[in-house]
């Protein structure tokens, strides 16, 4: 199934792209996606300890089960205001 990954702020700059599309097995959960992204963009890997994950704009745990066409956003620590 297809999963769309969104990258923001420093992650976007490191990856030099604001999104990527992954093709993953139907059984994929969030932590599988994290593993793939770490491999595809190794420079992002050290940032994952502070990244939160939102699926379709809702924060989720790493065990969250994904569905086809889900939008998975990698959210660095907020610094608005």
């Amino acid at each position: 199934m297809k999963i769309n990954i969104l990258l923001f702020a420093n992650l976007k700059e490191i990856a030099q792209q604001s999104s990527l599309q992954l093709d993953v097995p139907e059984t994929a959960i969030v932590s599988d996606i994290i593993d793939i992204v770490k491999k595809e963009i190794p420079d992002i890997a050290p940032h994952f300890k502070s990244i939160m994950i939102a699926v379709n704009m809702i924060y989720v745990e790493n065990s969250f089960k994904l569905n086809n066409n889900d939008e998975v956003a990698l959210i660095p620590p907020a610094s608005g205001g």
Partner: protein
């Protein structure tokens, strides 16, 4: 009401728009970009935003505010894109029958916003730039 905008923010606009009927208190907070961060001179800022999610989260925070405190109306306006020094990045205005609710509500909004809402600030210094918290 929630605004996420690249336009200059003015408290006057967001005070006038606030519904005030029967209210005894209006409180307006304005967050302004400062010239120095830990002694380093900032030349400008840039705010980036995961806009649809930020809107949803701010609307949720707004809903919580109405549940937690007796307030009449609230406006949250966040500027994104390039923001020059001395310009306003955030306006939160609240009308309420009694003043304590407005103080509590605005502080709650700001704390939640800074912690949970997907908006990021990049500080530009004279010879470098970096995303805050990253």
């Amino acid at each position: 009401m929630i605004y996420i905008t690249e336009n200059i923010l003015t408290t006057n606009k967001y005070t006038q728009e606030l519904s005030k009927e029967f209210c005894g208190s209006i409180l307006v907070f304005e967050g302004i970009t400062r010239e120095y961060t830990d002694g380093q001179k900032v030349t400008k800022l840039e705010y980036e935003c995961y806009e649809p999610m930020a809107k949803i989260m701010l609307e949720e925070i707004e809903k919580e505010i109405f549940e937690k405190w007796e307030i009449h109306d609230i406006i949250i306006a966040h500027r994104i894109g390039i923001v020059d020094i001395g310009e306003t990045s955030l306006v939160v205005s609240v009308s309420s029958p009694h003043r304590q609710a407005s103080f509590d509500a605005i502080q709650y909004v700001i704390n939640r916003l800074k912690k949970d809402v997907p908006i990021w600030k990049k500080e530009f210094f004279e010879n470098s730039a970096s995303w805050v918290n990253s």
